[in-house]
Amino acid sequence: METQEKEFKSIEVFNVTSDIYSQAITGELIGMSNFATLAETIDDPHEKMEAVEHADSERRHAEGFMAYAKKLGLNVNINLKGSYWNRIREQFLNYAAKKDFIACIIIQEVMLEAFAISMYTDAGNALGGASKKLFLSIAEEEKEHMDHSVELLQEELHKDPDTFIKKFEGIHFNCMTILSEFSARTDLKGHCGVCNGDCMKNALHHVNLNVDSLRGNALALYAKALDTIGIPGEKSIVWIAKLPA
């Protein structure tokens, strides 16, 4: 560990980089689990195979992060039962239990992916070097997932706009509330259970990041995804404004 830590400018940079990787790996494993669960909710064999494929894609992302974290000697903490990640997973499982394929897609492919794509992009650009390449390439793959799902959700909205928007609103408040609490300046529901030691938000400046821009960019991408799906801006702005901060 000592030899590896020397590659970092300071112990603070090492710690915050470790926490960023910990969150990314935990998030990918949550995504993998979600797609695996989703596969069980689908009857169509082709769609079932696609869900398994997506689960495998998230597994590969997690493995990619884990391999590079190992190479750097980072202090990685994977905790799928960490407070926020676990609550998001529970929300997903609730909808999966009802075989609500569309709700599962909204949670995994719009909400979680918007945050993943945006935060990977910001983190990659801030960390630089090989980390940048890794984070940005995974963000790019996640973006493809998101774009594909957005098309599917556009079709769903087109079938019955009022019902779809009402359903989306309910999912938004169930899930985005958790992501919003998680990404607030201070964790609104306590320690996440993934970061080593104190909350990494207090140390992000060591890698030229700050929680306001991470959160702002993530919510901006989420808002743009809602726009692309076709949810009226005057509705989505109210949904976003009502999130905890």
Partner: protein
Amino acid sequence: MRTSELEELPISKIKAIYDYIPPRGIFKMHVKSLTGIETNGLYIDTFIAPDKLNAQNLRANIQKVKDAVKVVHHLNIKMAILGGFTSLLLEGNFNDFEDYDMVLTTGNSLTSAYVVKGLEKAAREHGISMSESNVLVIGATGDIGMACTNYLKGKVNRLLLCARNMNRLKTFGQRLLDEGHEVKYSSDLSELAPEADLIISVASSSEIAISSLKPKVIICDAGYPKNLEEKVEKVPGVFLFHGGMGQLKHGYSFNPDYTSQFYRYPAPHLGHGCIIEIILMAFEGIKENFSMGKGNITSEKIDLMYELSLKHGIELAPFYNSDGILEASKNNSTT
């Protein structure tokens, strides 16, 4: 926008997220004309934070305006007004939107109309002769400042022009002198203010301070934001009103209705001239860009827009400022 069951967010938390929000529709608007025509609109916010309106953020802000116009295009809306700072950022240049098949305007013709007509009305009510007055225009080289100056030239005793950019001011001032008008120009407001009988302020600078005023001077504050009261020397007899506004006699409605949260005025159904201009264009079915570029607003355009405004039952707003309706307008402020 947060409902009563939620705690109010402190400004610091709003600022932390505000300018990340992509441009989007905020509320729909329904308007009715005196002639019976009705039309619908959508208010799109660019989410440019006021404290980010500086040179450092110019490129990002221009991109946000372009993104907002793209939203209009995606929603298949065929007419748009780029109000407030958005047209200032683009300097009225709509070239980037030529492929969008939409009609655009800065709305500055009607804003200018409400400014000059408001000033004329205030002067009349206070027994001041326009032709014997010296009119000071603060922000004279901006689009509205130039439009008002061009409208008033030949109708007043002397034009006093003030702007920050001395080169532009000199060019504009000299042109008016060459046309034979009585003009004095300076970038130093204190050189001009003591001579003014009537003042139009269309500048957005926070650095304006007006002092050494004549008694009973009339001031039309048509800048953004309208906060000139804080910057004018407290002299008894000064009549300061917020200009560039109209009153829609047949009302308007918002959906969702945010009128209790913002767009609050001391009289009902007030609206900015720029927004009313696009409403009139919709009522009239005008299919070409109207106010565009900088320095292109003619007196004919001002008069045309004002006539259309009256035709559709939209009149000058009653005189008001941050203290409320001003005495002279109290009897006419309700619809």
